[in-house]
């Protein structure tokens, strides 16, 4: 399965972070900044993993929590909580992770497809697996994290519930 076609390919830089003890990476090119936790403003009618929006130099940017995104819980948000702001197309959003680790160079040739292996993160949101310093890094496909379709699908199920809630 090791197709050595990319001897000359440049390495890709990944920002790695940890989530529930596992190591993940996001393409550094999509990362805009890393920031500490600041209070977000909640938004109604959004999936639970969208924590809210914050003011990023005048832009109103949504923030999602990667733990919640994958159905886990997070006990608290505080000074140690880290947020990675990424850009997909022209859109910005923040991802809350457990901790940011490092920026590493990955040889694209070493990236392997993802087997279904029961990681925390649904394999649908991974681009591949890479190895760095003897450790496995799961490469996150940020584009898929906040796909509008996902949002719409989830949301479509909500209005009835919500209407009933309001009336109650």
């Amino acid at each position: 399965m090791h197709e050595n076609h990319a001897d000359t390919a440049p390495t890709v830089q990944q920002l790695t972070f940890s989530l529930v003890g596992e190591e993940y990476g996001v393409d550094i090119l999509s990362v805009r900044e890393i920031r500490g936790w600041t209070r977000v403003t909640r938004i109604p009618q959004t999936p639970v993993y969208v924590l809210g929006v914050l003011n990023l130099r005048g832009a109103i940017v949504p923030v999602l929590d990667l733990r919640l995104r994958f159905g886990l819980e997070r006990e608290s948000y505080g000074d140690n909580t880290v947020m990675i702001v990424v850009a997909v197309a022209e859109r910005l959003f923040g991802i809350v992770v457990d901790a940011v680790s490092d920026v590493v160079d990955i040889d694209p040739a070493t990236i392997k497809p993802v087997p279904d292996m029961g990681a925390i993160v649904d394999t649908r949101y991974l681009k591949g697996l890479a190895t760095h310093a003897e450790r496995m890094v799961m490469l996150l496909d940020v584009q898929k994290l906040m796909r509008p379709e996902d949002v719409e699908t989830l949301d479509a199920a909500l209005p009835d519930v919500r209407a009933a809630e309001i009336a109650a």
């Binding site: 909640r42 938004i43 859109r91 959003f93």
Partner: protein, 659 residues
């Protein structure tokens, strides 16, 4: 003498001329509908006159020539020598169209006159009574060269009061030749009694001799303005041999259109702003500068004793900033009348084309809205108006048969409602055929055949993509552009469009658009730990309700009595899902808001204060959220959501149904 480059004024000229043509058209249509207002004729004349003057000044000869004839015709109307009839109105309306096209070509630097404009100009010319070539300048007989002139000039008493100054006159004469003052004398009319002499009056006379071969017309030109202000006698000194009359200098021979500069007339998007608005801005700038220097002062030698002054200064700065912002925003606000003005013409054309009679009523022309919104509201309105006349209003005989007046009524009105401008297009025509719409929607698969739908829901189907109501597409409405495009255009501007219709009685289309896309005045409210901004303009009243003022409805909703009606309570903490909010109505505040005539009470924890909110889009990085029109950044740098009152009211209504 340095020649001034006039091309910088071309753009203004085109803009004001187009506006003038709009005014002309509107006035012609008003005349056409039987209004005999003399002021209308003046308006039309003035517009033509200004265009002619400007076109001649800026060297657009073809436009000037065309308007000259139109103006002559209008002069006959103005002076009562020609009556206005349908034929004349028609001709003038065609002239308006022609001029628009000519101006457009001028602006693009294309050849201006074409066959159509020439034909029309000739038609106008033929109509103008006795419009022969202007009488050749009165033969300048006696163009004899002379050695000089003897001039006797006696100022009439009012000479000085007309702004004349004999000394200047003499200087002017001096430029023609050597001037000799033979005698100055006191006019005969003056009383000897100096005590009664009015120093503002002229009682002097002069006998002058001008030496040199000065042509009489040149001499006359000097005294041209004094006709009636003086007694004047001019006699040649001595005649010598006659010479050929010198050719008259061409009067400002209008250059060919300055194509190069005109080509630069790309739509830079300028705005004409009333001087009052600019003055207000300047005033405010002045105040801002004062405040700034005051703050500088404080800052230069600051100690705590000046804290109070600093606070005052900051408060003043805040006030200045707000006022300045208001004024700047106001610059972009224009009355919707400019859009309304297109409709009389459109309606008239459609009437003729379709054999229908339409009484057009316009209301609320002065309602102002942002220029960007204004520019984009026109097309959807045109579409709806065409649609109303084409499909809504019946033919005269059909109306007669239905017991209605033969002329249908089409009403456009605009008013502010909440943070919106609401434009209604109503007709008293046949109304929508709900059954046919439903059948078509089912046929197109837009709704399942068995779905129960109310009339309004059925009517709303016409805005669905691909829906076309016309049984047979006419060339007016059936251009492949449907109501879905209207809805899309309106939605793109953050607005909504809806329709209500009663069979046999007519339809009302309502377009609601935000006034401006930038800033609102808001009331900041707290709910749980969140801040929500309610647009001030939607708020009727804020009140604290006693706990027992709220009643539960059978469906589980909550209502309270407000003035003469029962309003539903919308608990904002539920609508927006906030934890830790005040849940006892008696302990919170109810903000009564209104949208589209519907009122509801919003339950919030407390009121924080008023703030102007620069609206930021949630959609840019996220998506639209029901009940929220946008977000803004509050003073501590955090984000607060702006409540979309209409959306929340709908949420409330929807909850009422669900219950």
């Amino acid at each position: 003498m340095a020649t001034v480059d006039l091309s910088q004024f071309h753009k203004t000229f085109f803009e004001e001329s187009l506006e003038g043509l709009d005014a002309m058209e509107a006035a012609l249509l008003a005349l056409d509908s039987g209004s005999a207002d003399h002021e209308l004729v003046h308006t039309i004349f003035r517009a033509a006159h200004s265009i002619k003057g400007g076109a001649a000044t800026f060297g657009f000869a073809d436009v000037a020539a065309f308007t000259h004839v139109a103006e002559s015709l209008l002069e006959e109307v103005r002076s009562g020598r020609r009556a206005v009839d349908a034929g004349l109105t028609d001709l003038l309306l065609r002239s308006v169209d022609c001029l628009r096209a000519m101006l457009a070509r001028t602006a693009r630097g294309q050849p201006v006159a074409d066959a159509a404009s020439e034909a029309l100009r000739i038609e106008l010319t033929q109509l103008v009574a006795g419009e022969a070539a202007p009488a050749p300048a009165a033969a300048q007989a006696g163009a004899t060269a002379v050695d000089g002139w003897d001039i006797r000039f006696v100022g009439l008493p009012h000479l000085l009061r007309s702004g004349h100054e004999p000394l200047r006159l003499f200087r002017e004469l001096q430029q023609l030749g050597r001037l000799e003052v033979l005698r100055a004398f006191v006019g005969d009319a003056v009383a000897a009694d100096f005590s009664t002499l009015d120093p503002g009056e002229c009682h002097l006379g002069w006998e002058l001799r001008l030496h040199g071969a000065v042509a009489r017309p040149d001499l006359d030109a000097v005294f041209e303005w004094l006709d009636g202000d003086c007694e004047l006698a001019i006699a040649p000194l001595a005649a010598v041999e006659p010479v050929a009359p010198s050719p008259e200098p061409a009067v400002a021979a209008p250059a060919a259109a300055r194509e190069a500069s005109a080509a630069g007339h790309a739509d830079g998007g300028s705005i004409r702003v009333g001087i009052d608005k600019v003055d207000a801005l300047i005033d405010m700038m002045g105040e801002l500068v004062i405040t700034q220097s005051m703050l500088n002062d404080i800052g230069a030698n600051f100690d705590l004793s000046q804290l109070e002054r600093l606070r005052e200064g900051l408060a003043q700065l805040e006030r200045n900033t707000r006022e300045l912002q208001d004024s700047v925003m106001r610059i972009r606000m224009l009355p919707i009348g400019t859009v309304f003005n297109r409709f009389p013409r459109l309606v008239r054309d459609l009437e003729r084309k379709l054999g229908k009679q339409v009484k057009l009523e316009l209301h609320g022309e002065h309602t102002e809205l942002d220029k960007t919104v204004l520019e984009k509201i026109g097309d959807p309105m045109v579409h709806l108006v065409r649609n109303a006349i084409d499909h809504g209003l019946e033919l005269p005989r059909q109306r007669r048969a239905a017991g209605k007046p033969e002329a249908g009524t089409l009403r456009l009105d605009a008013h502010h409602e909440g943070g919106n401008i609401v434009v209604r297009i109503s007709d008293d025509g046949a109304g929508l055929n709900h059954e046919r719409i439903r059948a078509k929607a089912v046929e197109r698969g837009l709704v399942p055949p068995d779905q129960p739908l109310g009339d309004d829901e059925i009517a709303a189907l016409i805005f669905e993509p691909g829906f076309s109501t016309a049984a047979q597409a006419t060339d007016l409405s059936g251009r492949g552009v449907g109501m879905d495009v209207v809805r899309r255009n309106v939605r793109d501007l953050g607005g909504s469009v809806g329709v209500k219709s009663v069979a046999g009685q007519g339809s009302v289309f309502t377009i609601a658009l935000p006034l401006t896309l930038a800033i609102i005045d808001g009331l900041v409210t707290a709910v749980g730990g969140e801040r929500y901004i309610v647009p001030l303009i939607s708020i009727v009243e804020s009140l604290r309700l006693p706990a027992d003022a709220v009643r539960r409805t059978a469906g589980g909703g909550e209502v309270f009595r407000f003035r003469d009606e029962y309003l539903p309570v919308i608990r904002l903490h539920r609508a927006f899902g906030c934890a830790d909010a005040v849940t006892e109505i008696g302990r919170g505040i109810v903000v009564v808001v209104e949208d589209g005539g519907q009122r509801v009470g919003l339950l919030v924890d407390e009121l924080v204060g008023q703030q102007q909110a620069v609206i930021k889009s949630l959609e840019k990085h996220y998506r639209q959220v029901q009940g929220v029109s946008g977000a803004t950044i509050v003073s501590d740098g955090s984000v607060a959501l702006i409540v979309d009152v209409g959306g929340v009211v709908r949420l409330g209504r929807c909850s009422g149904k669900a219950a």
